[in-house]
Amino acid sequence: MWLVLCSANDYSALWAARGLKSCGLLPLEIVSPESLAYNLRFDHRIITSETDTKIALADGRVIDSATVCGTLNRLQLVPFKHLRGASQTDRQYAEQEIYSLFLSWLYGLQGVMLNRPTPQGLCGAWRHLSEWVWLATKAGLSTPGYKQSGYKTGSLSVNKSNSRLQSLVVVNDNCFGASASLDVKDGCVRLSKLCSTPLLGIDFQVAPKGEWIFTNATPMPDLTLGGALLLRALANGLRQ
């Protein structure tokens, strides 16, 4: 069984799920974070070398970690609406516990997972813009000046007039999306490796002279940008 974990309004993931099915990844289950959080039963056992998890969902489906072959993970947050009745202290404690449980389950889930969770994010690390700029520079991409004043989010010195926004998506060391030079694509792959995020979206401002300037990156890219070829790479990646 393959899993696509995404919210109901994540059309990019739903598009990918539909495409993965047509690529032959069957059975494939689309599971929302709400279905996971409002489960009927969550058994998570950890032994020295492996984990064993069974989640009984309200709609009757059971996610057995032993049957999972691969996962497209687009979970950002765990819904905590059902904890609203608890006191603030209890609620905060319960939220941390549930988040840890999800993190442990996802981290221990067998098969390929794009992306594995980290303490900084359930579908891959969410990073501060300054950190992305630093990593992009290390990866050899053209980066703009970054300015940080006080505690507010920093700003990039990119001239957005006359430039256009382009996005690329890296899947397992392959770059998809807009037409870019090999140097830019190689840089994107290096960035994906540097931040250990095999599924990574990278935004650029393309200057009128054709220079691609990094502006941001995300572990939750718009997958539709890569079209059928990205789907194929995704399907191949999840099959391994």
């Binding site: 059309y11 929302s32 959080a37 009927l40 309200a58 709609d59 609406k81 079209g227």
Partner: protein, 656 residues
């Protein structure tokens, strides 16, 4: 001896499921040495040598080529052009990686006896990722002693008889594919569809191939009669002219062209990409070839044993992926006549010289080419007086397995060429009753897809894509049957059923435009008359009911009026317009009110007439779920889960 004089036995398809005999091939073709260079080498083929744009050392490669007198040319054309196209295609969501990989494929041309040694030496070079020799391809027509008989020596009559009654594959399912039904629908004869057949030679001067054809548009035709007969028979099956003599193709109004695998710089893979470039999304490529596979170490041991579909070889696979994924062209490919099981683990073994990344394309778990693979099934027993086993059972020679999508007639196909049905000295008048193999099966599927595309285009609907075409062929049609020794578990898929497919595509209600007064249309008219009669009967019944209602209403109004007169003998309601209560209680007004009532009732009964009622079978509910509905479904699941969780929490609170 003419083939039409054959007895009822049928090799490969007989009750015992005889496998192909060891008749040697008579089709001349070439082996190809294909070299795949490492993608970072940036090689460019010059006139006499190879250079590297990435600064890689090409000395050893050039010296090897020079010492063996070989030349190395890119399979898919100039590397920079292919690379440029890859860059341009990258903006298209359907394109990118496959095209960039295509710059690494080269064909090494050298004397045939040198190819194997050259491949071995190439593999030792640092720049080379893979080097393999592709065996000689052949057309997948069944080869038997009697199948290679010369044509009938008797001269053709002044006018060729009409052979369409012998083309039973055109008939209704399950025996045929019901092309005759498709013809009654707008565009159902393949109008606007374009097809390119890839093989060795054709005779486009044939009397039944003169309309809607664009001739040979690539490569050089083989002079061999075997290749020419084959190409002519294939194109006749789907493209035979729509006239009163000879045969009629399944989609006779589709445009048919051909590309040969022969000629300078030509190869099977290049022929496929050339065809894809000459077509648009939704058009069709037919690969009418097969070649010896790994069962007998890529050797032709005779009788086509072990021959497999062309997509097994990486360059062909890349070319098909280009056609299906980048160009959106539907590729139909003969499964081959090797009697092979594509699910055999043998096919998982990477052949020597293939790239390390190669994966068995016949395994559905691996990356797919997107082509529709066609197996050969038996025609209904008794067709042309012969019996090849249960209808739609796998013919013994046909390859099979999970990868095979769909089947066509692998025997008894009446079409142009060969001359066993009508022969003589003029090849343009030759016809056959016995075209066979996965060769005859594949054009049937091409014809079916051509009909669907024509009808979809005429109905202004979205054309089939490679994926949807494959899906509809797999999910509709007449199912494969068992035959002793050849059970249906040896999958070759369903035989197409165009009536069912049209229904699924929402095309079954399109207007009949054709004016031919053949039997089928008479049948249609009969059906229509029956419907009309039925409709009239319903109308009469409705009229009777209306009269009854009218009388009842009349009675009620009269009673009401009488009551009013009784209660208010001098008061009269004043009302204007069409108030049905009226302005007086006189008998004349009562009649007018009744007629108004009648009109209203009439309008209510017929505000949507039968012919204006929507076809609910083809409504959006019948289409594939779109993303919005998946999203809604997911949201519903989430809401239900939350509600259930809340209920559970409340229960626990109550318990505590």
């Amino acid at each position: 001896m003419a083939v039409k004089k054959r007895t009822t036995k049928g090799a490969g398809g007989g009750p015992a499921g005889r496998r192909p005999t060891n008749v040697p091939s008579r089709f001349e073709s070439e082996r190809e040495l294909i070299v795949i260079t490492k993608s970072d080498a940036g090689l460019r083929s010059l006139r006499s040598e190879v250079a590297s744009t990435a600064g890689a050392n090409v000395t050893s490669l050039n010296s090897l080529l020079q010492s063996s007198g070989a030349t190395m040319t890119p399979v898919f054309g100039n590397e920079d052009r292919v690379a440029r196209f890859a860059t341009a295609a990258a903006e298209d969501p359907y394109a990118a990686a496959s095209t960039s990989d295509m710059t690494s494929f080269y064909r090494v041309e050298a004397a045939d006896e040198q190819l194997d040694k050259l491949a071995e030496k190439m593999l030792n070079l640092a720049l080379v990722e893979a080097a393999y020799v592709k065996p000689k391809p052949e057309p997948p027509v069944l080869i038997e002693e009697d199948a290679i008989a010369p044509p009938d020596t008797q001269e053709a009559p002044p006018v060729t008889p009409n052979f369409t009654a012998r083309q039973l594959y055109l008939d209704a399912a399950p025996g045929g594919i019901d092309a005759r039904f498709a013809w009654t629908r707008n565009g159902g004869k393949g109008q606007g569809a374009r097809i390119i057949d890839i093989e060795g030679a054709w005779r486009f001067s044939h009397e039944d191939l003169t309309q809607n054809q664009g001739g040979v548009v690539g490569g050089t035709q083989s002079a061999d009669l075997g290749w020419r007969n084959h190409g002519t028979a294939v194109t006749g099956e789907f493209g035979g002219d729509d006239n009163a003599f000879g045969i009629t193709g399944i989609c006779p109004l589709a445009n048919v062209r051909a590309i040969s695998i022969f000629g300078a710089g030509q190869s099977t893979a290049k022929a496929i990409t050339d065809a894809a470039n000459a077509l648009s999304a939704g058009d069709i490529i037919l690969i009418e070839l097969h070649a010896p596979g790994p069962r007998h170490n890529f050797q032709n041991i005779g009788g086509q044993l072990g021959f497999i579909a062309m997509e097994f070889w990486p360059d062909n696979f890349a070319a098909i992926v280009y056609a299906t994924s980048v160009k959106g062209v539907i590729v139909v490919e003969a499964a081959g006549n090797g009697a092979e099981n594509f699910d055999d683990p043998l096919y998982n073994n990477r052949p020597a010289g293939f790239p390390a990344s190669w994966k068995n394309p016949f395994n559905l778990a691996n990356p797919q080419s997107g082509a529709v693979i066609v197996g050969a099934g038996a025609p209904p027993p008794g067709t042309h007086g012969r019996n090849h086993g249960a209808d739609r059972s796998r013919l013994g020679f046909s390859n099979f397995g999970a990868r095979v999508d769909v089947q066509g007639w692998g025997r008894e196909v009446t079409t142009a060429a060969y001359g066993d049905l009508q022969g003589g000295s003029n090849e343009d008048l030759w016809y056959t009753d016995t075209f066979s193999g996965t060769s005859s099966a594949s054009p049937i599927v091409v014809g079916a897809v051509g009909c669907m595309q024509g009808a979809l285009r005429a109905a202004n609907k979205t054309l089939l894509t490679p994926a949807t075409a494959r899906n509809i062929l797999r999910t509709t049609g007449s199912p494969q049957q068992d035959e002793p020794g050849r059970p249906a578990t040896q999958r070759i898929g369903n035989r197409p059923n165009l009536r069912q497919a049209f229904q699924q595509l929402g095309l079954s209600k399109t207007i009949i435009k054709d004016t031919h007064k053949d039997k089928l249309e008479k049948l249609e008219i009969k059906e229509k008359n029956e419907k009309l009669e039925k409709h009239e009967k319903i109308e009469i019944k409705e009229r009777k009911e209306k009269i009854e209602i009218k009388e009842r209403i009349k009675d009620k109004i009269e009673i009401k009026e009488r009551i009013k007169e009784f209660k208010e003998p001098k008061e009269i309601f004043e009302s204007g317009g069409r108030d049905i209560r009226g302005t007086s209680a006189s008998e004349g007004d009562l009649e007018s009110r009744v007629s108004q009532l009648e009109q209203t009732v009439g309008e209510l009964t017929h505000f949507i007439s039968g012919d204006l009622r929507p076809d609910l079978q083809s409504s959006a509910l019948n289409q594939e779920d779109d993303l919005a509905s998946i999203s809604q479904q997911l949201q519903q699941q989430a809401d239900d889960a939350k509600a259930m969780k809340d209920d559970k929490d409340i229960e626990k609170l109550r318990e505590s």
